[in-house]
Symmetry: C2
Subunit: 217 residues, 2 copies
């Protein structure tokens, strides 16, 4: 499959490398066609890997992964061009983290709105599925790094798109506990959970953790 990974950070590189290792053709998109981090990744990842602008990557990809920083997501998708987004699934992993007001970061949108919703509203031609945003990059593509069962959530308005993303999570990445929270407004839940996630990172001393949902009987 031809896949676009938007963003050259830790999450983008981890997702892109995993997808290449599964045999997919991956184009990593960034602001400029010759981004250095993307070039370094392409060199490392081999012949199935390529790089380009947000527009080139989005045109290339049959499905798109949003691994940009939350503060840059809308701008990146505008740069991608609506004609390159039409009808495609956007797996939205970004979080609306605000790093300019001290540590730990806060959220620049929360409570009665979310980044997932903002993206879906701004780009109705996309099928936005929010997922994987509650987990450290290393665990996203290899849930078996942690012992036992633990959860990943999906939020989105398009039921069929969520079904495809669930297949990716399960079949490609190995997720077993996949919880469909509902429509894209449920992104508020997983994005706000980041505020607990950040404190748990501090308390546990590692970002390599996750939550398992324990339910009665």
């Amino acid at each position: 499959m031809k896949i676009a990974v938007l963003g050259t950070g830790m999450v983008g590189e981890t997702i892109a490398s995993k997808l290449v290792s599964l045999g997919h053709e991956v184009k990593m998109g960034s602001r400029s066609a010759n981004n250095e981090k993307a070039a370094a990744w392409v060199k490392k990842a081999g012949p199935k890997a390529s790089q380009g602008t947000f527009a080139e990557a989005s045109s290339f990809g049959e499905i798109l992964f949003n691994c940009t920083s939350g503060s840059g997501s809308i701008e990146a998708l505008e740069a991608a061009g609506r004609q390159n987004l039409r009808g495609k699934i956007l797996v939205d992993i970004a979080n609306p983290l605000e790093f300019t007001k001290g540590m730990p970061p806060t959220l620049f949108v929360s409570n009665n709105d979310s980044l997932g919703e903002r993206i879906q509203r701004a780009f109705p031609e996309l099928k936005v599925v929010k997922t994987l945003n509650t987990i450290n990059a290393s665990v996203m593509v290899e849930p078996g790094r942690l012992p036992g069962a633990h959860a990943v959530f999906v939020s989105g308005n398009d039921v069929e798109a969520k079904g495809q993303v669930k297949q990716i999570l399960e079949g490609w990445f190995g997720w077993k506990e996949i919880i469909d929270l509902g429509d894209i407004t449920t992104s508020r839940g997983t994005e706000s959970y980041l505020l607990l996630w950040l404190r748990l990172w501090g308390a546990l001393g590692t970002p390599e953790f996750n939550i398992h949902i324990v339910k009665k009987g």
Copy 2:
């Protein structure tokens, strides 16, 4: 031990009944000395149970449980009277839920502040320990209702007070997975998690669930 439970709702009644069943003397506090819900509880809970105003309950209790609605917590503690709060631990179970803007509720404080912090700032004579606010009332006092391990968090500035609350959680209520997140600012994490909790309730169809923290090896 003499204990004040502030609030007559589901959480207050559940906590108060559990404490009485453990042999403690519990005074349920509310706005008026003859609150009907408190009277019904006293009748049911027996000779160790009593009721009174917020001030009477706080004067009576060696330790206080804040089970008021989040929107009424500051007012309730003002009514309690500072002389009745001085040096005492407040186990703060309240959440800043805003029910006036449609369902599911939002939070009236979040992200860069929390109800726990607001209470601690407004009442420096109290040792505020935020805990149990991430769990349904029935599970708070009987974690064994759910299978396997699952977590409760504590947040507070006073290390000794947190130690005492951990003993209550473990020894009285039966909690095994108790995670100290840090100072009272970490209440932002657990209060914001409520936005995920509410969506999980919707997805799972029951409020009787909790999260277990899964950490790398």
